[in-house]
Symmetry: C2
Subunit: 221 residues, 2 copies
DNA sequence: CCCACAGATATTGTTGGACAATAAAGGGTC
DNA sequence: GACCCTTTATTGTCCAACAATATCTGTGGG
């Protein structure tokens, strides 16, 4: 079983490199709560579990460090970050800057991204919104669609890094939404604010949305 | 000369890892125009010139990829990016979002970062502003100070990534400022706008500043 | 002439094994 | 219990190797 690298037969559109694959895998594991905050990712263990060499693990981990999903402690290894109140307001601030710019573009062009509407539909549908993880996914898809609609590669790149941190935060502090219905309602309000095609209105609505999430996260524990 | 790793005796406050050192070195080389746009960084050559192993080079290069200073072409290696008009407006857009948020914080607190004033002083001083590279540095320091004043770790992190791309752009398209005096004048205007402690005023001033730079860059060639 | 196609050559991406340096864990003494 | 020494584990780095892919070269046909 040496050097045998199975290609993703019919699934993957991109035959990505081993480092990219591992980066994605680790990302998934981290965001699914496989590790506790403050836990170290021992590389021998990781290499066994993902059957890669220590070098590839190390490289992938470093990429995740640049995205804020891991922290490197010199001579101690790679650790899952623990978020404090400062991190929460900091993340909210950057998020506001990024998503605010995307909102500005959407208002300018007047095109509401269909994927955002789809995400709201999921929140509205009791059958699909029963699963909590489906809600998290829907929320992620909504905001990702907003960013994508900006048409800016760098905005997207920056947000995708931040997105990881946001999700990790939501994982570490669960129960951020009382009910699926509230979530749907709030996001419908955001859509409406975009339809107004008035930047001030939209910006205020989104601002309130972020700050709501922030206070909810801060109130927890 | 194997495994001998000279520690920075009295200079470095942080005995950084080899990857960090190499990342910084490569960054410097890239930003000093050592490589042409589109040029590939062959790893054997790089390893010789920096006397490191191929792994460390590869890891460092990948970090630079995440910062937009290099691009990885599968099975071709790491290439210096070539910026087109799209990239210029895209960079300007993200920059506006990031720096705009920092400006908002500064206006809120009312504290003008001293480092920004220092940078303007350099532009004003004919002796120091004679050297073109000193001007570039002063401009970088000015805007870096603005970001730092926001007090947000993530804003800083994001901007430092973007900063590299901006500098590289300035390297690839030189002569963006007609004279040092114009530069000083424009930045003094920015300082004044901050002193007004009115977000709309400051935001407009900065917005104009970025857009000026954008059009100057776009007009070139 | 130049296009295509074969082999030779170079370069990348990944792996395994090795080792120094540092941190963490025992273990004994006072 | 606090301190020092030894042992162990883990990290960070290097070297050497190899498969896969890309590039170069030369040769023959149209």
């Amino acid at each position: 079983m040496t050097h045998v690298q199975e290609l993703p037969s019919g699934s993957g559109p991109i035959p990505a490199s081993a480092v990219e694959i591992l980066t994605q895998d680790l990302r998934r594991r981290i965001l699914s709560g496989d590790f506790r905050p403050g836990e170290f990712l021992r590389d021998v263990k990781m290499c066994e579990e993902h059957s890669t060499s220590r070098h590839t693990f190390r490289t992938a981990a470093l990429v995740l460090v640049t995205q804020g999903l891991l922290r490197q402690i010199p001579n101690r290894g790679f650790m899952l970050p623990e978020f404090g109140p400062d991190d929460i307001v900091d993340i909210t601030r950057l998020r506001g800057a990024i998503e605010g710019e995307a909102v500005r573009m959407i208002v300018l062009t007047g095109v509401i991204p269909p994927a955002a509407l789809d995400a709201v539909a999921v929140m509205r549908d009791p059958a699909r919104s029963a699963d909590r993880s489906a809600l998290v996914t829907a929320d992620r898809d909504f905001h990702r669609a907003i960013i994508a609609a900006s048409g800016s590669a760098r905005l997207k790149r920056t947000y995708s890094g931040l997105e990881g941190e946001i999700e990790l935060l939501l994982i570490q502090r669960q129960g951020f939404y009382a009910a699926a219905e509230d979530m749907a309602l709030e996001h419908e309000r955001l859509i409406d604010s975009l339809k107004s095609r008035h930047y001030g209105t939209a910006r205020d609505a989104f601002q309130e949305h972020w700050e709501d999430l922030q206070t909810r996260l801060l109130d927890q524990r």
